[in-house]
């Protein structure tokens, strides 16, 4: 079981001035910087960590690749680390599946770790012309796989409840529905309120409104867009309610990274009767600009 036991946050500009908060032996990052904040984390990790390992999850082969070494996802993920290593996970550059399986490994090895996340100053989601209809899709490319259940979290969807953690990209929720692969009987939504910045929650609601109506979501929960701790509590309440009703719970992390971190954290702690749906969208180059607040969550294993 893993839990957040400390949360530090600071403006990125302030961190640059103070240089280093803490040093690490290993940092796990996503492949390649795509925007200002991943450039920032890349520079930052060069300063604070002795080693950087690139992590990528490949769905078709169900393997987690760490610096090119493929590790199959199985009951016991075959991966060893020294217990006294100081580990940092850069969630800014990593996608949800990588975060999930890294958390799984650390839980398995009972190793504590820190997670870094940098909020952007802005997202590049404005339409280029008044005729452009697909502005909300400017943040990511197609997933090419469609929505899939992640290995280890595969259960029948019949009669299930799906809780979608929503972000700016409303079409991602619709694609779960349109794909016709899910047989869930009800949908719920979680919106990040307050958003990273005042007014951003309106964007989330606006971009998801059509889908919320189409899918027929009646229950909307809220939790701070950058708050994995409260999001965890909301998910936990949903999970307990589902258990009481004897229906499986499906989680779809389509929102901000902190809410995805909460999903990964919860999934590692509650592996049964829980399914995780992910659409494998590819982040677009230059999807955000600037750097705002940096969060550092310290996880401890019990």
């Amino acid at each position: 079981m893993i839990r957040i036991h400390d949360w530090k946050l600071s403006r990125c500009s302030a961190i640059s001035e103070r240089e280093i908060i803490q040093e690490y032996d290993i940092a796990y990052v996503g492949p390649g910087a795509i925007d200002d904040r991943t450039n920032w984390t890349s520079d930052y990790l060069n300063k604070v960590s002795s080693h950087k390992h690139i992590v990528h999850f490949d769905y078709p082969t169900a393997t987690l690749s760490i610096d090119g070494i493929d590790i199959p996802i199985s009951n016991q993920i075959d991966f060893q680390l020294k217990s006294n290593l100081r580990i940092l996970v850069d969630s800014t550059s990593l996608a949800f599946p990588e975060i999930l399986y890294l958390f799984t490994i650390f839980d398995q090895l009972k190793i504590s770790f820190d997670v870094l996340y940098v909020q952007p100053e802005n997202y590049d989601d404005k339409p280029r012309s008044e005729d452009e209809d697909f502005s909300s899709t400017r943040l990511s490319e197609d997933g090419m796989l469609g929505p899939k259940l992640l290995p280890r979290y595969v259960i029948p969807s019949r009669k299930a409840h799906l809780l979608a953690l929503l972000g700016f990209e409303g079409h991602r929720l619709a694609s779960l529905y349109e794909s016709e692969v899910l047989n869930v009987s009800s949908y719920g939504g979680l919106i990040g309120i307050p958003g990273f910045k005042p007014g951003w929650e309106n964007k989330t609601i606006y971009n998801n409104m059509q889908q919320i109506n189409t899918v027929g979501i009646k229950d909307i929960d809220i939790s701070g867009a950058n708050d994995p701790i409260y999001t965890y509590t909301v998910i936990e309440n949903k999970y307990n309610a589902s258990k009481y009703e004897k229906i499986p719970l499906f989680l779809a992390p389509l929102g901000t990274k902190p809410t995805s971190i909460a999903v990964a954290n919860f999934a590692v702690n509650n592996p049964t009767n829980l399914s995780l749906v992910y659409d494998f969208v590819q982040k677009k180059l230059g999807r955000s600009t600037g750097t705002d607040t940096a969060h550092l969550w310290s996880f401890r294993c019990k």
Binding site: T137, P151, V154, N183
Partner: protein, 655 residues
Amino acid sequence: MNITRLLNSLSAARMKYESLDNSVLNRFVVPFKIDELDLRNQKLSTALVGSRGSGKSTYIKYFSHSTRLHKNITHIDKSELDCLIMYWKPDIAYCQGLNEQWLGEETAFKFFKLHSSIELIDEFAKMVANIRHHFPDHTSNIKNKDSYISKAIFKVTNGKVKKLEDLESWADDQRFDISTRLNPINTEGMLSLDPKATIQYIINSLVRDCSILERTHFKIYVDEFELLTKNQQRLINSYRKESKAKIGWNVAYKLYAKPTLETLSDQPLQEPDDYRTAVLDDLIKNDFALYASEIFLLSMKTAGFEFEDIDIDPFLMGDRSKIDFRCEQNYRNRLLNATKRLFPTKKISDFSKDLSTTAWLRKKIDSILKEIGRTEISTDKILSNPSMAVVIAGTYHQKSFNLDHFIDGKLKEKISTFELSSLLTFRNQNSQLNIPIYSGFDRFITMTTPNVRHFKELCFASLKQHDEAIRAKEITCFEEIPPVPIEYMDAATITTSKLLVSEVVSYPPYGNKLSALVNRIGELFKISQKSHYQTEPERVIFSIKYDYANSDEELESILSAAECWRVLVSDDSKRLKSENQLTTKEYTLNPIYSPRYCISYRKKRGIIFELDEFKLLINGSYDDFEAIKAKYRKIWKYDIEEFEKTQIKHQDRLL
């Protein structure tokens, strides 16, 4: 009658009708040509294909035991037992999630087989319950402790179930048990069932107990077949290949999907030896106007609208023996007239007539006559034939333009060809002009065939626009709803079209690409339609200089997805002249998207894209697309300055 409440209750149009027992009793309107495709009479294994929204699942459910032997039916003829259909829609997310790389091929198969067996056993239990309900005297043996079926289910369930009545709750328990076995993977003590052997065993046992089923053919339909993994498809294909007369395996999938034909052996499925493909669209397209009307009116009835002049009867529409009655002219006319009255279709020439009374067209004709030096002809003379006036205004830039031929009545065909195109051009150029073309029942049908859902959405959206106007009226029945004004229908159609275009991005796995494709093709054709130089009638068709020989797998995959989702509609007709006849397919956007871009819903002319150019439409950047637009603006002589000048003049006039 609370119209607003009733109209709001129609908003569920988007949601698919799902019921727990899979029955579509009294909710299915029997297509007129249903006898050409009675799923129970097919000798070979059938692959039922249909485009999105054509109602494949509903069609199978109509023939399945859930509907045929529904407990609400008071009398069932024994002939219903000649063939019994079991419907199985796999839990696709779960089946796809049984990743062989993660679980290993053997374990993945084991879980899939168990899942399918449990679902089919559950369906079997429901079918037997229905048979017993209607034929209690012929199925009394089942109750017997020593019956074949009791023994069979005892064996199949590993000694857990002795009575058929307990089979459904056993299936529920098994589903729960499976859900606990993948994290961590644990197959110890897990049931091991093969769906084909299991279903064959329990059906044969049932037949031995119930002589009434001796001649019964059992058919299993696997829905959403294309979404299963390749190996899962191979397993089902093996069952299809080995289908026997007694128990047959069949599948249903989307039109243009390409599921594998491989089996678990080295003998792939071959058509027509092993199976036959049946296209549902062909059945529905025929008489779509009446079919869609019936479904719309039935929805209104279900929502609570009363009908006084016509009898909207779900029993009649759902009874295939009444097809002949429904095909009679009297019934057809009454139903079609009811829908046509509510959504009147204005003739294209009437739009021209309206336009001819505006100062805008008068001024336009005036200036054209001046420009071509024919001021001796009076504007009134031209305007006296509104359709001609409109086409003159739309085509006077053409090199071959000859005013005298128009006036002499030699260009009647040209007028009918260019009238709609010219009206669309004016509408594009001048947003203040009131030309609500996207209105009326007939155009709704043209834009939506064969998608009933889209038709209903256009009707409901129009009614909602109308709602404000009729809210104050005391309406007691459907017939009292006043006809929806064409402006309302037009506005509703554009809103619906925009919504449907915005939906495209959520069509996995190429949502972004398909959305880019639709938006960019739409924008290009809009440029063509907006141009002052209408040298050809409406451009809405395109083809690609590509041989479709698998040299570009990604492109073919995207195009195939576009057809599967019916974002693009392909056509074999050759309207476009290709220099070297390399292009073998012609596409249009789904006509329901045409109002979004103010382009035509009918097929006339189009363009042939170079392969690289077409790929840029899908994958290119904003700047790439701007370059493509600039190129076509030039080709189509789209003169922005002239366009802006017209706008300014128009605004001046308004001021």
